[in-house]
Structures are given as C-alpha cells and as structure tokens.
C-alpha cells in the first residue's frame, strides 16, 4: 500500500475512533460538558482529516460519490500487502 495514503487513512481512523469512544461515554454521561466540548473539537478535526483523505484517494462515505469512485478497489478487507 502506498505510504501517504495509508498515513492519511490512519489519521482519520484515529480521530474517528476518538469520536466513537466519546460518543459512547456521552450516552451515559450526557451532562458532561467538558467531554462534550472535547467531542466538538475532535468532530472538527475529523472532518478536516476526512476531506484530506477523500480529496486524494476517493470517497469513504457511502452516499458521497457514486459509481466509479465508489466501487474502485481496494475495499476495507482487501489486503494491500501484496500489491
């Protein structure tokens, strides 16, 4: 796999994971304003990283880019080790 692509994806995955984790926590701690503000911060960061990746390597989100851009390989389960 090409390194810049992998690195861009890893950054987005990491920021997205922070969002997932905080989102879960906020389900049972909905009044935690400090966490809510951390969530907003990461949400903005995540959007930037997603755009950076998508501008270079194509859509991540289901409805963002249909047709050729969407169906192109690799899919998440495809190992790119042997490419």
């Amino acid at each position: 796999m090409n390194k810049p692509k992998e690195s861009a994806l890893r950054k987005y995955q990491a920021a997205k994971f922070a969002l997932i984790e905080m989102h879960l926590y906020l389900d049972t701690h909905p009044e935690d304003l400090a966490m809510l503000s951390a969530y907003k911060k990461y949400e903005a960061k995540c959007a930037v990283l997603k755009n950076e990746y998508e501008d270079m390597y194509g859509a991540i989100q289901w409805l963002d880019a249909p047709g050729v851009e969407w169906i192109k390989n690799p899919w998440p389960w495809d190992s790119e080790v042997c490419d």
């Binding site: 997932i20 879960l24 926590y25 389900d27 049972t28 998440p76 790119e80």
Partner: protein, 206 residues
C-alpha cells in the same frame, strides 16, 4: 438506517496466511459470543428499552459491533489467502474448506453455525442489560483465548483492540444498568419486570 464508511474501525493488515488461526478466529464472527450475535442482540433489544440513554447506548454499541464483525471477517479473509491443498489438509482447515472453501461463514470454531439461540431479547431492561454485561465478558474471554493461541503480531494487534472494546462496552453497560435501577421505584428492591407492568416507573413516565 445505517450509513457505510468504506474503511475498518481499526486497521487489519496480515502478511502471512494461517488457516489454523482463521479456523479459531471465525468463532468471533458467528460463534456464541461473537460479533454477529452482539450486534444483533443490542440492535434488537433497543425496541423495548424505555430510557433515552439506553436507546442511545444500544444503538451505538450495536453499530460498533457491526464494525467489529467486519474486522473479524477481514482477519479471516486475509488469513486464508493463497492456500495450498497441502496447507489446508495439514492445518485441519479442511473440515471448514469442504463446506465453505475460503468464503467467510458465520460459525463457531467448533462447527456450530450461527444461531440466535445464543442471545436474548427479553423485553425486560434489567434482564437485557444483565445479559449484555455477561456477553461482553464472554467475548473478552474468547479474545483472551485467541491471544493465548495466536503468535503472529499482525493478528494479535487487531484482536487486542477488539478485546479492549469488550472492556469499554462492559463499563458502559454497567453505567447503563445503574442509570436504570436508579429510576426504579425504591420499593421494587428486587428489580423485576419493570417494563411490562402498568405500575412500573418507566411506564408511568410515558
């Protein structure tokens, strides 16, 4: 509805195929404490869950379990690439191969196909949340056992991630159970069937 993102929740990149490992790890795809059962359990229990926090929690965890299902499918797929007949026979993967070739199929490692009999949706929030706490622990044990049997760091790394998620989910369900019991009538000391009967606090609140 659900929206797909064309990426894994956590990267899976396995260099060396190993059909024996695939045959063990498939259990977290379709086994009794696997990710398919987990996602189905939580996404199904949502409908009878009375409290907003718990509807959110079941939706979020159920959705994350779908991402874990995809990771396990990916691990199994990558472990079974480019196998020779000889490797298939020697590893013991032949008993899986004869039915599924190298397709990913929801089954336990012992060969029992996926069954909803390993999960519950009781319509009772205390019973359901207690089941979920146990389910997270059982899945954590399965990941512990996989880590006892698998040496390859490429495989161990995503398995460790998944194991940690079971621990976090257990924590959140524990908080959810506490939120629920705090809202029950204090005279309902044994916390039985709070959703169904007319006089229960969650029904009175509606």
């Amino acid at each position: 509805m659900f929206c797909y993102e064309k990426m894994l929740e956590y990267p899976v990149k396995i260099k060396n195929p190993n059909p024996k490992y695939a045959q063990l790890i498939i259990s977290q795809y379709g086994g009794p404490d696997g990710e398919l059962g987990a996602s189905l359990r939580y996404l199904t229990q949502r409908f009878s869950m009375p409290y907003a926090e718990l509807k959110g929690l079941l939706t979020d965890i159920g959705t994350e379990e779908l991402a874990h299902l995809e990771m396990i499918g990916t691990i199994v797929y990558q472990l079974t690439r480019n196998l020779s007949y000889d490797e298939i026979k020697k590893s013991g993967f032949d008993t899986y191969f004869v039915d599924h070739t190298t397709g990913v199929y929801p089954t336990a490692a012992s060969g029992l196909p996926f069954t909803a009999a390993s999960m519950q949706s009781t319509g009772d929030l205390i019973a359901d949340l207690s089941e979920n706490l146990a389910a997270e622990q059982k899945a954590r044990v399965t990941y512990d056992n996989i880590l006892r049997l698998v040496d390859d760091p490429d495989v161990r790394d995503p398995i460790k991630f998944l194991r940690e998620r079971e621990i976090v989910h257990f924590q959140r369900f524990g908080e959810g159970l506490r939120l629920a019991t705090d809202r029950l009538n204090s005279k309902n000391f044994y916390a039985f069937n709070p959703c169904f009967d007319d006089n229960c606090p969650c029904n009175v609140a509606k």
